[in-house]
Each structure stands twice: as C-alpha cells, then as structure tokens.
C-alpha cells in the first residue's frame, strides 16, 4: 500500500480498467501525449497505445457523440470533459442522448460510458473552470453521478464507474487533486456506486456533505469537539442516486442535521437531501434542517471565491445554531 494523491489514485484506477478490459477507451482533449491538462491520464497512452488512449478535436458535443457511437459498436468509453463548465457544450450528448438511450431501446442495449470531469472552486482558475454543476445532472433519469472526497474512494469509485453498464458522470474535485494523500492499495478494489459513507461517527448532530466540503465538515467537527459537540459526518459520494438509508440512520441517531454543498443553494443536491429527510424523518428531528451552501450568484471571479465557497467556519456556525436550537 502506498500513499497516493487523489489524482494519482484516479490514474491508478484508470490504469486498472485499461488493463482489465481491452474494450475500454480513454479520449478527450489533451488526454493523450500530454496526459491531460492535470496529468490525470499521464503515461497511459505510452502504456496502452494510441488506439486506446487518444486525443480528440476540441469539441465536447463531438466527444459525447463519439462515446455513444463507440458504445453502439461494443466499446466501453471513458471520455474526459476537460472542465465541468465545458459540459454545457455536451448537454445534449449527456442528458438528451446518453442518459436516455438504454430506455429508448427498452433496455436492450447498454451504454457503459463514464464521463470524467474536473470541477470545484478554490484554485483560482479562469471563469467556467470551477463551477459546481452537479445540480443539472442529478435531475437526469438514467444517469448516475458520483464524486469522491478522498484518494481511496477516488480509485475504487472510478473503477466501479467504468465497470457499470449504466452511464456515470464522474466528478473530480480540482482542489483535492494534489492537496490530500491517502493509503491506496496498488491492487484492484471497488467502492460501490450508490452508497454514502460515515466518515466520522458522532451523536449530537449529522453533517451531510460531499466532495471538498467533506474535509471542511471534518474540520468543523474537530472544532465542535472542543466544546464537546459530537458531530457525525457523512460523505454522500453518490449524488444520484442518494443513499438515503445511511442518512436516515444517522438522523435517527442524532436528531439534528446540517447539509453542506459547495454549489449554489438554489434547487440542487442539498435541497433533495433536505426534502427526503423532511418527507421520511421529520418526526425524528429535534431542530430545523440546517443548510450551508454557496450564495445564489454566478460562480465568482477568482479574487472573491474564498469568501464565496462555504468553509469549516460556516459549517461550524450553522452546526452550533442547530445544536443549540
């Protein structure tokens, strides 16, 4: 077992699926010789050849069309959309076509496509490079949406995503790429596509988060612990579907919940979790559901992003408010 960064863990998972299944293909802008603009696919073209790992022309809708057409001819495509903001150019491909094709065939054909895309704020990127756009995709029947919050899950989830016969949107957090290391097995393992994980146990309050906000929530939990407030932290990992069993079990234990997301507050994942809890577990709650989210502006210019992205202090403050309700 080696200490591995989040990005290296994804590379290791991709290496594994390329090795295991000769029908897997990685393609996108700059993924070949350059190994991706973040080096996520580094060395994979050298190892598996240009037939398996290749650059495409610069056109995201074309990349999705390629993925769908390759599925129809027996391949297992792993396209990369260079930044999540660029998925707008592939919206028909992902939402209008890919997510619906299994249904259109009455279940007779599978479209085992894993769309990888980096997202998330805090690294001072140019505009349209940091947006949290999961809210557009989690309302799409037929599409699974997952996002790991640590290197171990990153490798296990990317392998599960590729092996899944359903299309999966695999969101990779930019800030986490090189900011955290974990023990990651060299050998193959998988993390299930549709389960959340309790990453810290607690008794007074449940904090539900995903992606980079899991680390912020853990930092908030540390701060709360100094005042003997015991926070349980759940990493959703899968944003569609949401593992409500794990969330509900925790709510039954703590009776208080704060839901955290980096995306804007309007609609979205946090709202779905809140409504699920309200629908099924309202009698278990001792306080209103607390929410921490970015404000409802467009993703800010880089100079203001650290004030915009919810951080550990924001989560801690909301948690205290809910615990003391």
């Amino acid at each position: 077992m080696a200490k591995m960064t989040y990005i290296k863990a994804i590379t290791s998972g991709l290496d594994q699926v390329l090795k295991d299944d000769p029908k897997t293909l990685i393609f996108g802008e700059d993924v070949g010789k350059n190994g991706g603009v973040f080096r996520t696919t580094v060395d994979l073209q050298d190892k598996y050849g240009e037939d398996r790992v290749f650059d495409t022309p610069l056109a995201e809708s074309g990349i999705l069309g390629l993925a769908i057409g390759l599925s129809l001819t027996g391949w297992r495509p792993i396209p990369e959309i260079q930044f999540m903001g660029f998925t707008f150019e592939a919206m028909d491909g992902i939402v209008g076509q890919l997510a619906r094709d299994h249904y259109r065939f009455g279940g007779q054909k599978n479209f085992p496509v894993t769309v990888r895309t980096p997202f998330g704020g805090g690294t001072h990127t140019a505009e349209m490079h940091a947006d949290n756009l999961e809210n557009y995709f989690v309302s799409t029947p037929g599409l699974r949406v997952v996002t790991p919050a640590n290197p171990y899950d990153a490798k296990g989830l990317v392998i599960s995503a590729v092996e899944s016969d359903d299309p999966v949107l695999f969101m990779e957090n930019l800030k986490l790429y090189r900011s955290m290391k974990d023990e990651v097995p060299d050998e193959k393992y998988t993390v299930p596509l549709d389960t959340a994980k309790v990453v810290r146990e607690g008794t007074d309050l449940t904090i539900v988060a995903y992606s980079a906000e899991v680390n912020e929530s853990l930092a908030a939990a540390d701060a709360l612990a100094k005042d003997n407030i015991s926070a349980e932290v759940i990493d959703l990992r899968s944003l569609s579907p949401i593992d409500t069993d794990t969330v509900f079990a925790s709510v039954d234990k703590t009776h208080k919940v704060v839901i955290v997301q980096e995306a804007q507050r309007m609609a979205g994942v946090g709202a779905v979790v809140a409504s699920d809890i309200a629908e099924e577990k309202i009698m278990s709650l001792d306080a209103p559901i607390g929410r921490v989210a970015a404000p409802d502006s467009v993703y800010p210019f880089a100079q203001a992003e650290n004030d915009w992205i919810p951080n550990a202090d924001d989560i801690e403050a909301k948690a205290r408010e809910i615990v003391n309700y």
Binding site: G65, G69, L70, G74, F105, G106, D165, D166
Partner: protein, 371 residues
C-alpha cells in the same frame, strides 16, 4: 492599404468561385425522363431499374397510406416523405445489412428497407418502445434532436474502424436545416479527423419546416461545407434514383476502403407538410414555387424510362399500389395489436441496475397496474 493599389487578396473572386466544383449536380436521368448519362444507366439491368421503381412506388404508397392513418388519428408524429423517394430509396439500397444506419425522423422508409418492419415504423410513430427494437441491430431509432445523429455517426464509424470490421460503414441522414447545427460540423469533422468510414447524407428538400434553404446559409451549396473539414462531397439530383444510387455506392466504397468519410447533398423536395402535427405549408410557400418540383417528380421520370424500355405499365403499377396498401393495412393491424405499455416498464429501462428510488417506484406502479 494604399488607395487604389491592388489588394493582396481578392476576396470577391474567392467568394464568387468557391462553389465552382459543385456547378453540375450528378444526374443520369433528367426531369423530362431523358437519359443524360447512358453509360451509367447501362450498368443497371432492367430488373434493377424495375426494382428501383417498385421501391419508389412502395414509398409513395406508404406516404399516402400513412397520411390516411394520420387523418384517422391512428398514428402519432409522422414526417411525410413524398417527393423524397429517389433520394431515400436510391441511397439506402447502396448499403449492406452490416452497415450502421443513424436515421432522423423523416427516414422511416430507409429504416424499413435496412431491416425493420412497417409495423415497427408505425409503432415508433405511435410512441411504442417496440418501434425502437429492430430485426437488424445495425440501426438506431429516428433522431429527434437534429445534429445528434451526426456526432454519433462519427462514433459508430470510429468503433467500426477500431473493431477492424471490413466492408462496413456508418451512414446517416439529415436535412438542409440540419447542416446549420454545430453538431453537423462536429460530426463530419470528427469522422474526418479519425478517417472513419462514414457516409453523411444531406437531403436538401428545400425547407426546414417553414424556413427556406437560402435562409440557412449564404453558401451556394450545402455539399461545399464538407471541404472545410477535408471531406470530399458531391451534389446529386435527388429526384433521380439512378444518380443517387450510383453516388451512394461510390461513397460507400470510398469510405469502406479506409479513405475517410464522404458528404452527399441530394437535391430533393418535400411535397407535403413538415409533419402530420399541424404544419400548413400554404402559410409559407406558393403553388407557383412548388410546381417545378412536382414536375421534377422522381416517379414520373423513372416511369418514362421504364415505359420506353417496355418493362413497366400503369396497370402493373396500379396493382402494386393495391398490394402495398393491403400490406400497410395489415401492418397497422399488427401495430395496433401490440401490448399496451406500462410505466413500470419505463422505470425498469431507465437504468441497467435500478436505483433504490426507482425500485420503489417500480413496485408502486406494478401494484397500480395489477389492479
């Protein structure tokens, strides 16, 4: 630039000459039924020519019968095909069963020729999933988002190339309006960049619902758009089935041999409305405008050639029409006998592995449906 000096580049000249290679659309039989390319026509036996005519009569009859069914409220969305028989039958007959067809909504006749049934076509129109499940697996369903079929064609063609399949291509259709979509360019360009075996058809029928061809682009031809992607292209008289077939066969051969994709623009016409869903062409075009196209009818000119050869008669054609009508009425009965669809089935097909929420909804709907 100094006043009055010669310009370094003559844009006016470039603009005036850029469509020059497309000045003469390929034609074998002209609108009067005169054979203008006897050498090409001589490559076809009388039986083959009669078969072309039968297929066009079949498609025209399918169109007429389908419009009747639509008026009777027995079909859903349907895009009329009258006028486009030479373009559709001439092209699809140049392809083999192993070729992969990516149709749009006006391409049911080609789908049926490529390996599905008329009943399945009706089921698609009626919004039944069996209308998407074809005997020949080398086929998608009619694409509704115009342009998407073009980018997917690049993928199918690349998949064929990567599989090392020999004598196999992808072929796809759109209309004149479809060439304005970004996906049109992305699809042709991707296929070109990967030198993948694809044949891209543009059935230029003059109209994108109510918007005439000239409003789509200032380009003199749609075929010339392919040049920018490094793809050879041709304009063909889309009312001349022999010309369309000949060009399609050549394109297929070129692509299947590993030379990359081809774009074919067929010059044809949409006699009827855009669709059976309330479009009224009298709002945007006059009889005066449409008459020359009706005079150029693909059946009229083929009928003349075959009658001159003594291998076709009106009596024979009338009998065929009756046979086809009976066939289509039977197909409609078959379509109407298909089992009703259930919401629980739609839920089951949404994911390969249903999510917990979907599983719960399947159970809820199954309980309702069993009552």
């Amino acid at each position: 630039m100094a006043n009055g000096s010669k310009q370094i580049v003559d844009f006016a000249k470039i603009k005036a000459t850029m469509a020059d290679p497309y000045k003469h659309p390929v034609q074998v039989i002209d609108r009067e039924g005169k054979v203008v390319d006897p050498d090409t026509l001589a490559k076809y036996s009388d039986d083959q020519l009669v078969d072309f005519m039968k297929k066009m009569v079949w498609e025209r009859t399918l169109h007429e019968q389908t419009m009747n069914f639509s008026r009777q409220g027995r079909l859903g969305f349907y895009a009329p095909t009258a006028g486009e028989e030479a373009s559709e039958m001439g092209s699809v007959t140049a392809f083999k069963q192993q070729d992969f067809l990516l149709p749009a909504y006006r391409d049911l006749p080609q789908m049926i020729q490529h390996g599905t049934t008329v009943a399945k076509g009706f089921l698609w129109s009626k919004g039944h999933v069996e209308g998407n499940q074809h005997e020949n697996p080398n086929m998608l369903f009619p694409q509704i988002i115009i342009g998407a079929q073009y980018v997917e064609t690049a993928g199918v063609a690349l998949g064929i190339k990567k599989n090392g399949d020999e004598d196999r291509v992808a072929f796809v259709y759109t209309g004149d309006g479809g060439t304005s979509q970004g996906d049109w360019y992305e699809g042709v360009n991707f296929a070109s960049a990967f030198q993948a075996p694809a044949v891209f058809f543009v059935q230029n029928n003059g109209w994108a619902i109510s918007v005439p061809r000239y409003k789509q682009t200032a380009a003199e031809t749609l075929a010339q758009k392919a040049v920018a992607m490094g793809v050879p292209s041709v304009q063909v008289d889309g009312m001349d089935i022999v010309a369309v077939h000949e060009v399609s066969e050549a394109a297929r051969e070129f692509a299947a041999a590993g030379n990359g994709p081809v774009v074919i623009e067929t010059l044809t016409y949409r006699y009827g409305a855009h669709s059976s869903a309330g479009d009224d062409p009298s709002r945007y075009r006059t009889d005066e405008e449409t008459k020359p196209w009706f005079d150029a009818d693909p059946l009229i000119r083929m009928r003349k050639v075959l009658t001159d050869k003594g291998v076709w008669s009106q009596d024979q054609e009338d009998k065929l029409v009756d046979e086809y009508k009976d066939e289509f009425k039977e197909a409609m009965k078959e379509a109407e006998a298909a089992p009703a669809q259930k919401v629980s089935d739609f839920l089951k097909w949404t994911y390969n592995v249903p999510t917990p929420a979907v599983k719960k909804q399947i159970a809820e709907f199954e309980a309702k449906e069993s009552k």
